[in-house]
Amino acid sequence: MNKQTAASATGTSVDLRVEMAGLVLKNPVMVSSGTFGYGEEYSRIYDINRLGAIVAKATTIRPKHGNPPPRVVEVVGGMLSCCGQQNVGLERFISEKLPFIRTLSVPFFANVAGEIVDDYVFIAEKLCAAGGIAALELNVSCPNLQQGGMAFGVDPAAVKEIVAAVKKISSLPVVCKLTPNVTDVVAIARAAEEAGADALSLINAPLGMAIDVETRRPKLGNVVGGLTGPAIKPLALRMVWQVAQSVSVPVIGIGGITTAEDALEFIIAGATAVQIGTANFFRPLAPLEIIAGMEDYLKKHGLDNIKELRGSLELPPARGGH
């Protein structure tokens, strides 16, 4: 088997381990839900056990066709996509995907999506029972069918309800993944923390749109889709920084991360770990390059441990000139 390695030599002197939600990750570099399949695909390119953790594509109770094409359109600095949670459904996830996942030595997170609170609870119960999963990431960006279709994730009360309900039955750590399409991400983060979330991950994709001016039709089959990639990094970093200051559970930074420098920005802003998403598509070895780049950075700055960097942002003195 071909296991490509990142360019940079990886010495042994620095410690990239991070603890999160009762787990120890060998490094803070995870890959994000929906951008890494179930790991099989990328295991054809490199040894995915070198990652900090892997998050699976969203699992819903029933299998889903997902949205009609086109599902992806390139935009400046990013892409819009609307896969509509095409997935094999809970049953086949357990019967077809878990066996491969159990062969891995890397923590594997399931990503749970539903339309009513009970969906989350149902899936969580089955996954806890199935074994092979390290943690649950709750995708609360889905439309809340009980509340008129606005996403669960924009309403602190709904987020609280989902997280509390899942925590009650879950034997696995629970990560709540936050949507950026909100006025006050900190309020949502606090609601999730109060409900017992073991960690928070953010951001999911901001909603965007593109139009083909020749046909005057939306460029996406689903009209709107998630904006991801480098274009959203500044937005994501701002939200991670705000949340990390306001909660005491670990925060996982997500959004446009492509280079080690990007990842380090999130850690300096207070993230415990990061997830790589869209970069997997255009730089398939990005996660390995980021791990290597983090090691190089720590060495260069005389740090032994990635934890020393977490939340080390130095703010300017009180601002003059107003």
Binding site: I45, R62, R71, M79, C83, F282
Partner: protein
């Protein structure tokens, strides 16, 4: 599963082969050694850490040379990505991921193979023609492969010489416009029937505009030919992870959606599909 390689490939040649069409040769030994006809690579057109355009571009593997480690691509300059690609000079580095996707099935039992390429479809069928020519070495005198190469206009018919250079197992036909293609196909049928070849022992392989594929699929079914089509779709990852590149196919067994159809991934389940699996958009 076949390994996939991320190669920082050096450009060895970049040359124009038709209107806005370029041939790019890249040193990518691992890909050259393992690629199969009909597979493709995902090419980074912008430089490393340059983000415009962001996504890679899928391009078929035109030909490989496992000895020299060279892979060849033929592409048409259309938008932001291919424009940048066309500026790469010998010695520059281009990141390519491959080989990707499921290629053509070569049916050893086939008595004749008919290849129909429309426009840049030549890019995905050349490698196949080459492999089929090898298969043909053990067979009879008549040409084993009929390659029908066409385009919108005479000058858009490219790569004919490369096909011709494959020698006697390959007979090259060219066509412009749909009517002419149908005539050419009829001529091939006549030739086959003169040779006593039944159409249901032939295989049809095709790559080109969707309308053409669809008509050929119907034509092949009419003649009970095995038919494989190479599809295109907008992609991002190229490896089956992002689920961008869907096409409708018949559901097959094990479908838990209790539906007659499902979305398959062009990049992983294709780009080559058996024609009868494909559900064409109305």
């Amino acid at each position: 599963m076949q390994d996939i390689f991320e190669v920082k490939a050096q450009v060895t040649t970049q040359e124009k082969v038709g209107p806005d069409c370029h041939l790019l040769q890249l040193a990518a030994p691992q890909i050259a050694a393992s690629a199969r006809p009909g597979q493709f690579v995902n090419v980074a057109c912008s430089r490393q850490y340059q983000y415009d355009p962001l996504l890679r571009r899928p391009l078929s593997i035109y030909r490989v040379s496992p000895d020299t480690g060279i892979i060849e691509l033929i592409y048409k300059v259309r938008g932001r990505g291919t424009e940048l690609l066309a500026q790469k000079r010998a010695g520059e580095i281009v990141a390519v991921l491959g080989p990707l996707g499921k290629g053509f099935d070569i049916h050893e039992g086939t008595s004749r193979a008919i290849l129909v390429a429309g426009g840049l479809g030549v890019a995905s069928l050349m490698f196949l023609a080459q492999e089929l020519a090898k298969v043909a070495l053990g067979k009879g005198e008549e040409p084993y492969v009929h390659a029908l190469i066409g385009g919108h206009s005479a000058e858009e018919i490219i790569c004919v010489d490369d096909y011709s250079a494959l020698g006697s197992p390959v007979k090259v036909h060219t066509w412009i416009t749909r009517a002419r293609l149908e005539q050419e196909l009829e001529k091939v049928l006549e030739e086959l029937s003169e040779q006593g070849v039944k159409t249901n022992t032939c295989s049809l392989y095709t790559c080109g505009p969707e309308g053409m594929l669809r008509r050929l699929a119907a034509w092949a079914q009419e003649h009970q030919m095995l038919c494989q089509v190479s599809l295109e779709s907008h992609m991002s990852c190229g490896v089956g992870a992002c689920q961008s590149c869907i096409c409708k196919t018949s559901a097959g067994t094990g479908n838990t959606l209790e539906d007659t159809w499902k979305y398959s991934l062009v990049c992983r389940d294709g780009p080559v599909f058996n024609a009868e699996e494909v559900i064409w958009d109305e």
